[in-house]
Symmetry: C2
Subunit: 556 residues, 2 copies
């Protein structure tokens, strides 16, 4: 069964290796886990639904709890504390376009607000209900989860928008095809969610971001049915696909998704190369991606992430041996790990590896083969379970991500890491409620472009004395770093979308005129403004977001 | 000096080889050239300007003539006949953003309509003035034509939007870089025009369409300055770049363009392979593009285009020898020519060629080396001069283009060619004014995607008895084929944009809701609707387009 207050299936558990305890103690300090709330107690808190009876609406309290939060850190703290604050008034599970059309008509007539829901994996507050005079209906797309058609000649697959990652791949693989979209959230997130939040998968170097994969589909909007035809390319005016991608439910509910798929590749392997320093590693990565080497995946961990990954991997003896061997070649402290994937025909993979070795060698890279890379690939979707394991020991983990042009990668990366390490300690004399805990901060680049790279930073800190303090600490970290990102040529999100948590920073990034243009689009499709309010752009009657509330608490 | 009534520089002339005459006679029949108007006579027809005096506005008649038409066939007929119908009331040549801001303010105050003008190469009526109570100002971007900055680390170049193709490449090449965007109109078209019409270059397989190359820039809109930041990728909501691309001047004037450039490649060559039949050639091309072979360019001519190209190439003896050699290997009548380019390191080019040969051989392709391919590359921007040479002999040439998914390529291609060959003969008893001339129709695919392909059809027919008849014939061909395209899963344009000529078909392609969304965008940026009226979407006070007028003439 899916966890009601965390990630994934209850049966799946990730145990931290013994090496992890000592490492975390040294880096973050001792801590006491906070106490989890019980589901039965939360059920008692769920208020009566404000929704009328409807054949398509479920008002059961547990169902409403299970659709009240995503996977952001505030969501996590709300679920663990049981302090959910808001619940949807009901959940619907439409099975087809007719159900969706009926629901949206009903919601317009009754002035009900609508939150579209895919896998519930948002880390930016996309699917959270909020303070509202109007009733809120969450529309769970989970029953529209099938491969509807596969055109093998044009390599276009048609899916119900609620199809989660594993079912997308299983249904395609049965016919010899793959979509190749593997975000970290793959286990739960859905193909429709990927489209409307502009998701990116780990193998985007080969398969492209969802922007490249999304070919067309159907959207049920409050003003009617939007059918987006598939063309290989078109110069016929602005591309409506690019408006839908990133619209985050504001213009309607995506019901059918047509995507560009490929035949399963002849061969796929992942490999690891170590570099003596960050500068050498980064230059090598930039050089690789600017030289058209056919890689399917590339990830570059900075020195602290490399150290952390090796410490948390277990296999103490093997790691010690590896480090000894690396040291012989001059790659010691400060070393950086590059993981890369090759996918294609055997001929293509062999040639790409040749070119890669030549370039990485010129930057003192030490190639270690496919053992560690393939291990990484095996375990790559288990990472979200890591948060659960850390939580049990009293540690809190969150991530921040952006993308920027190459000339700015080092600058922005340093500013983000430095801020996370220091901001909680600033003004600590007047800010005793927060204190200044030790933060363990590390970063990787995981999506590479000729123009620049994503920056993905993880931070681990110990839970505060209580939930409120922990949330206040997070809010200060999140807010101050988000400001740094948008004021330093970074995008507020490379792969997680805007939701409610990033909305306050979007005007700085895009400018007032662009925000007005997005607003006019939303108004066209949703004149009553019932679709996913407060996400992406501010709604006229916007109450304070959770982040703003928490931020206010920090300041007060 | 630039031709006032045709393509390119007056000094450049393309002579048809002697083989061409006999070929055209056989395929299209005898004809008499129509008489060209003289510039001095047209100057006398230019009415007084309705524009007030302004330091940035030129009201000279010849300048207004030279900005009154693009390069569509009706434009061509208007320029050759001297029957321009409409002229801009003046032309401005802004030198910077301040000039543009001043101009747009002035135009808003004075209710002046604005037509942005790049290279004047539109083949869809983008830059043509029209019947209007309001004065019309054409804004020629030709003085904003410099490389402003080059970030070699992020590979981003910043250009004035009016920079034409040759100057884009020359300024980049001086520093070892290339944009790699080579549309047929390269000699005259501008980087800003490429962006706002969603242009595609001949080497898009390597460099991408302008959609992939455009990274950001500045737009001067009637309501203010829109600054689009560069990010390698972003999930922060809908992408404003995708709204600007294809906006065709409706939301403002693009003034600065930031594009993704690359280092000049180590090696580049073009090659030719012949296939015994269209089906074998098309399957080979689809297979190549779906197999991730690193080609920079691919073009596949159908049998009639292959025959035509060989006949018009001159070099009679060499071609006869080639055909003899091909026949020995079983490739005779019905043969199809594939031209392809390889660009990259020597290693990459060698490996791509190996893979290509393997795949094309499996489809009975006969590889002939780089001689013909490199000849094609040398001459590739001279093709527009071909129209001038044909015109002098009394022949009219035009093209139609679309794109569709692979499963539909053969179907749509056949429908387009059949319609062009037969539609003028239909109802000829009641339609004597038109008659039923012989059309020579041929097609190539020139932009390939894993999902499908562009379809580019050329048709040659003899000029009518007069200009009116010739225009009426064109209108019938254009209208009926455009209907076929949008009703058969084709886009109304793969690479030329919408303009005024394709606007009537856009709602069929995109649907009413999408058109409303585009309208709401235009209204946001241009509340007075002064920007490029009648392009892209219908304007409220739309007079009949030239196409509709000509069409009406056909029917009456």
């Amino acid at each position: 069964m899916k966890r009601w207050n965390g990630w994934g299936d209850e049966a799946n558990k990730l145990d931290l290796p013994s090496t992890a305890d000592a490492f975390l103690l040294a880096k973050v300090g001792t801590t006491t886990p906070l106490v989890d709330a019980q589901l039965r107690d939360v059920i008692k808190q769920v208020p009566e639904s404000r929704l009328p009876n409807h054949r398509l609406i479920n008002r059961d309290p547990e169902t409403r709890i299970r659709h009240a939060r995503g996977q952001s850190l505030p969501d996590w703290l709300a679920m663990r504390s049981g302090d959910f604050e808001y619940f949807p008034d009901g959940v619907s599970f439409p099975e087809n376009n007719d159900d969706l059309t009926e629901l949206l008509s009903f919601c317009q007539e009754q002035h009900i607000l609508v939150i579209p829901y895919g896998g519930g994996t948002s880390v930016a507050g996309h699917i959270n209900p909020f303070a509202s005079q109007q009733a809120i209906l969450t529309v769970d797309m989970g029953r529209m989860n099938r491969l509807i058609a596969l055109d093998t000649e044009s390599q276009i697959a048609t899916f119900g928008a609620g199809t989660p990652g594993p079912q997308v791949e299983a249904q395609l693989r049965a016919q010899g095809y793959t979509l190749g979209h593997f975000p970290q959230s793959f286990e739960l997130s859905t193909i429709g969610g990927w489209v409307v939040t502009r998701s990116s998968g780990q193998q985007s170097l080969r398969y492209g971001r969802i922007e490249e994969l999304f070919a067309g589909g159907e959207v049920i909007t409050p003003v009617g049915h939007l059918d987006i035809p598939t063309f290989p390319a078109s110069a016929a005016g602005p591309d409506i696909k690019a408006l839908l991608m990133g619209s985050e439910g504001r213009i309607g509910i995506l019901s059918t998704v047509k995507v560009r798929v490929r035949k399963l590749a002849e061969q796929e392997n992942f490999y690891v190369t170590f570099f003596p320093s960050w500068q050498q590693a980064k230059e090598a990565a930039k050089n690789l991606v600017q030289s058209d080497i056919q890689l399917s995946m590339l990830r570059l961990s900075n020195a602290i992430e490399t150290e952390t990954q090796l410490a948390l991997a277990g296999h103490e003896k093997q790691i010690a041996l590896l480090e000894k061997a690396l040291a012989l070649f001059g790659t010691k402290d400060g070393k950086c790990m590059m993981t890369f994937g090759l996918t294609g025909t055997k001929f293509q993979c062999r040639n790409a590896l040749k070119q890669l070795k030549k370039i990485t060698k010129a930057h003192q890279g030490l190639y270690t083969g496919s053992f560690m890379g393939n291990k990484w690939a095996e375990k790559r979707f288990t990472m979200p379970y890591f948060r659960e394991a850390l939580w049990q020991k009293g540690y809190v983990v969150d991530t921040l991500e952006t993308a920027t042009d190459w000339h700015n990668v080092d600058n922005l990366l340093a500013k983000i890491e430095t801020n996370l390490r220091t901001v909680l300690a600033q003004n600590s004399s007047t800010d005793n409620a927060i204190g200044s805990p030790q933060l363990h901060v590390f970063t990787h680049l995981s999506h590479f472009y000729q123009q620049g790279s994503s920056i993905y930073t993880t931070y681990i800190f110990k839970a505060g004395e209580n939930y409120e303090q922990t949330l206040a600490q997070w809010a200060k970290l999140k807010h101050s770093t988000s400001e740094i990102i948008v004021n330093n040529q970074g995008t507020i999100s490379h792969q997680h979308g805007v939701g409610k948590d990033h909305q306050p920073y979007l005007t700085t990034e895009k400018g007032t005129l662009t925000i007005q243009a997005i607003q006019s689009l939303c108004d066209t499709f949703d004149p009553q403004q019932i679709m996913n309010p407060h996400c992406l752009i501010a709604s006229p009657d916007a109450s304070e977001s959770e982040l703003e509330q928490a931020q206010a608490q920090v300041i007060s």
